[in-house]
Amino acid sequence: MMTSFLFRAMDTRAGIFLAIMAAAIILVPAGNLLAPEGSAFHVPNYAVTLMGKYLTYALLALAVDLVWGYCGILSLGHAAFFALGGYAMGMYLMRQIGTRGVYGDPNLPDFMVFLNWQELPWYWYGFDMFWFAALMVLLVPGFLAFVFGWFAFRSRVTGVYLSIITQALTYALLLAFFRNDMGFGGNNGLTDFKDILGFDIQADTTRAGLFAASGIALVLCFIVCRALTRSKLGKVLVAVRDAESRTRFLGYRVEHYKLFVWTLSAMMAGIAGALYVPQVGIINPGEFAPANSIEVVIWVAVGGRGTLVGAVLGAVLVNFAKTWFTGALPDIWLFALGGLFVFVTLFLPKGIVGTVSQGWTALRQRKASAAYESGSGDPPSAPPQSPGAPANVKHSNRAPVTAEPQPAE
């Protein structure tokens, strides 16, 4: 059963993506560690962490695409799960500092010492063990998502109402984590990490290892998502996205499906956060900011909603653009980024991958029909459209006269 489940994940497109990822996972660390500095193949440290960060963002985008692209749940609060995963990892890293903190307190992190905390709060227990922290990386976001989803989906909160309460969720968490009384370091968050699993966090090898780990996590999650979306469950999800009540009348318990994929997605976001933190070296409540969650949605839209590769590509591209713009055009980069978003929505409504693959399909079909008409070849088969990509028909007509504002949904 499992093999067939995984087997479904594979096809040429996925294969190419996985090949690229595999190459990156091997070549980047190798280029960083083995190639001598100054050689054409040398990958500087700076690039390794940067690309590692992009990969974790890509994983986050993948998680959002799973719920939004395939199930139609527009989450404007996924950064919350990302940050919670990050905090779980941050707490582990904090405990690893031990007596190397500035006050040398073996138990209490520095921020607790100077705010006069006397003992470790109970919810910090266990985070000195990696396995526990790793478990929490999954369980904390997963549990929160489960509880939140259980209520929201059962009450049939949908559309923009759901989006806004996910915003409320992340905003509330933002405010809560800002509070120094919470015991998570307030605005400064957790920082000054020393090592992870005994490896120095600033060592080149650790960094390359974290990069590889992010890559592997992304690949694994990609395969899981791919298998999932191509299974019957994936078809049900798309059915829910397109016609929720029809799906109900077919006997599917929509809330269970949503809850399942929502919780899974939150866990993936948690993993992304956990890998993000050791690479950037800090986790603080800013990660909960509602704007961050909106940005993730934008990555997905730029790449192509409902295509897993698109989510990954969008996250990498937008963040690369951001990195480049903030360095090259520090005073006006927001114009460029804002312009990019407007451009993509207007001219690439299905995102980059969606548009390219549509063009590709059309081209192939034209060729195939030509071949058929000239008397050779099989009849043109149905377009191998990804079930995720929203149907062409619905919005093909963009003329303003027939365009119809719908109630926000």
Binding site: V236, S245, V254
Partner: protein, 248 residues
């Protein structure tokens, strides 16, 4: 008909929206294997009645029983569907970004839980069943097309096919002939009659020709309750019916 021997039993059902009474003390009984046509002018409460039966709307008062003793008012859409009530909507609702084949596969009677579907592998019997249905609804050549690209009539048929795939005990069919050509309408009537051989069917329809071609017992709804019941000839002889419905 007594509740125990009925397939569907509605008694004194009332529903109101913001003071507007959509259903007003509606009582209706469908027997096992029966096919029933329901007619009535706009706003008579036909769709609301379907909503009540399928669990989309909760009645303010009254009883709804399925199969004699299953109280439907406490169930949600999914469990009602699993009990064996299938519904076709007024506006054809199919999954537009799925292929015709996938639409049928999703509707096919099978375990409905997330984990069951996650690890589901399509079996030979299921494939056969889908092939059979594709033949039946005459979409065999379009199996790989996206449902979005079907014509209006084809969507209606696909939806009926999906209903059959569910293999329900009771089919609720809302205006199956809407927007069809005359030929398609006739074929649809034939199809429904075939279906009625081994299912109970409730058809809501405006088209009198269509209803006549079904040749079954007719219930006339008006302002949320039953105005008349009997053969089409019988009810069209009823003065009240003529007055409210035919408007003559």
């Amino acid at each position: 008909m007594a509740r125990a021997s009925s397939l569907l039993y509605l008694d004194g059902v009332s529903v109101s929206f913001d003071g507007f009474k959509a259903l007003n003390d509606l009582s209706l009984t469908i027997g096992p294997g029966e096919m029933r046509a329901i007619i009535g002018p706009n706003g008579a409460g036909k769709t609301t009645m379907m909503d009540v039966i399928t669990g989309k709307t909760r009645p303010d008062s009254g009883e709804v029983f399925f199969d004699g003793n299953i109280d439907l008012t406490g169930e949600d859409e999914a469990s009602i569907a699993e009990l064996g009530i299938g519904r076709k909507f007024q506006k054809p609702t199919v999954f537009e970004s799925h292929t015709v084949w996938d639409n049928l596969e999703l509707a096919l009677k099978a375990p409905r839980g997330p984990f069951a579907t996650l690890f589901h592998v399509i079996s030979g019997a299921e494939k056969k069943r889908i092939e059979y249905l594709l033949e039946l609804i005459r979409l065999g050549g379009k199996r790989g097309d996206l449902a979005a690209n079907l014509s209006h009539g084809q969507k209606q048929w696909l939806e009926i096919g999906m209903l059959l795939a569910q293999d329900p005990k009771l089919l609720l069919v809302d205006e199956p002939a809407a927007g069809m050509t005359d030929a398609e309408t006739a074929e649809t009537a034939e199809l429904l009659k075939d279906i009625a051989n081994d299912h109970s069917v409730v058809v809501v329809e405006h088209d009198m020709v269509f209803v006549r071609s079904l040749g079954v017992k007719v219930t006339v709804l008006h302002e949320g309750s039953v105005l008349a019941e009997g053969s089409l000839d019988h009810v069209s002889a009823n003065d009240r019916v003529v007055e409210v419905y035919l408007g003559r």
